[in-house]
Amino acid sequence: MKKNLNIFIHAFTIELRKVFAYKLEFWASFIFSTAAMVIVSYLLWQSIFELNQVSQMKGYTLNALIIYYFCIAITHKILVSSGMGIISRDIYYGDLNKYLLYPVNYQIFKLGTYFTKSLLYLSVLLISLIGFQIFLSANLNFLSIVQGIILILSSTVTFFFLTSILELLAFWADHIWSLGIMIRSVMAFCGGFMIPLSFFPESIYNFIHYTPFPYLLYYPIKLLTNQESSYSFFTIFSIHLFWIIVFYIGQQLVWNKGKYKYTGVGI
């Protein structure tokens, strides 16, 4: 356990150094993409609120929607922090060789790498929440923030294991990039990244609750921003645990089969 924790911390530190080697690009792209998403969503909803002459839609005021889009934009970044290729690149280029030779747990090492940017984004989210409380009267409370943060972290672990199943398909498939992007698009849509789920027609709303995605994005944000939610913290956390176990088993199955396919010469 202690050894794994050390590996995690080492991987985290190495990745952190890489991020800070190009810190201007990292922060500039983060700020630009988040700001663009929030501004466009604000303009879109402002025009809809003005046209319909309402101050609230589906329980959201315009201010609440800005906070929602801001939080979900950052949470989405936390979940997909490392681009596609974190594992598949090692398989394609033959870099997996060194990890197989080193006395380290490959999965833990990759999890540490994955979490680096996630934790940086999470720190920005926490600071922003203070700003929302002061300037937008966000009605936040300490308990809901703590619960929201725990859920965002467990969402990240869940999504890491889901992504790693797809990445490991690289043992068989020639390119898995498009498959990963497809899952990310579906996750964004079903998780309420484009529009809060309460605006969805009932049939689609009910259907997407059979997938893990609403619990990865939408419900953690609801708790974080202290909005009324149909699921409690413990229910969402239990759902996360369920999916983590399912994806972990899936990942182990794929890894155990795939590693015998690995030639180590790259493509």
């Binding site: 879109l44 025009s47 497809m182 484009m194």
Partner: protein
């Protein structure tokens, strides 16, 4: 003519290459289909709660969204793969390959990779855009359609120029991806109708970083909101933008120090 023949060779070679990676070939088609379908569903959901977005109605917004599919098909097929590799070519010294051939390096680099798998999505884009045209409440002339095609192709060239603008600083900074995440981050501005933008934003993204010219203005041709004079200005602006990119490219090449620069 020589360049045209060369381009045909690029296409033939790209098809051969794409068919070697069959899994990726299939999944890239599915990926684009899923991505665009979700985008269409998103706007459909929005119109369950409103009748207008800005001052555009549902059929106008649908035409705009399908224009994006068409644009994306053109851009992904012709330009995207080429643009993507530029920072890596610069940093690893692989640009030598393009500079040593008896052909314009910018042309060679810009058109070498033709994404055969995205071509299928271009066909999908044409089909769904044609459907969206039939949903419009007002009629249009064939001339408007021709102008639109001209402007949407122009939009793809312009977006490629903007993408290069983000990558070319790599000649000086040697950063792994240039500033491409900035443009990528501004994607929502490209994907949402111009009708929601206020004056300042509209000005910035029309004249400074002309994302509005890529998609929204071509769509406006059908709504009789874009006069002919405007079309000429768009074409002149694109030419000026490309002249600037060519100058930046030449300056970058002078800065380039080959392997492991």
């Amino acid at each position: 003519m020589r360049y045209f023949r060369l381009y045909l060779h690029f296409i033939r070679f790209s098809f051969t290459k794409a068919l070697q990676f069959r899994f990726d070939f299939t999944f890239r088609i599915f990926m684009d289909l899923v991505f665009h379908t979700l985008n269409l569903v998103f706007f459909r959901i929005l119109f369950n709660h409103t009748t207008l977005i800005g001052d555009w109605n549902q059929s106008q917004v649908t035409l705009f969204v399908t224009s994006f599919i068409l644009f994306d098909g053109i851009y992904m097929t012709v330009f995207a793969t080429n643009a993507w590799w530029l920072p890596e070519h610069i940093n690893k010294g692989e640009l030598d390959y393009y500079l040593t051939k008896p052909v314009s390096p910018l042309f060679f680099f810009s058109f070498k990779e033709f994404a055969a798998n995205s071509l299928m999505n271009l066909f999908f884009g044409i089909a769904i855009f044609s459907w969206a045209l039939t949903q419009l409440e007002f009629s249009f002339h064939f001339f408007q359609l021709l102008l639109y095609i001209l402007l949407i192709i122009n939009g793809a060239f312009l977006y490629f120029a903007m993408q290069l603008l983000m990558y070319l600083p790599t000649f000086w900074t040697q950063s792994p991806r240039g500033f491409d995440m900035l443009l990528h981050g501004l994607d929502p501005i490209l994907k949402y109708p111009i009708s929601i933008q206020k004056y300042l934003m509209r000005t910035v993204f029309t004249f400074l970083l002309p994302l509005n010219i890529v998609l929204s203005y071509p769509a406006k041709i059908f709504f009789n909101e874009a006069p002919i004079k405007g079309v000429l200005i768009i074409l002149v602006c694109t030419t000026l933008f490309w002249l600037f990119i060519s100058w930046l490219w030449r300056s970058g090449i002078r800065q380039y120090s080959s392997a492991s620069s």
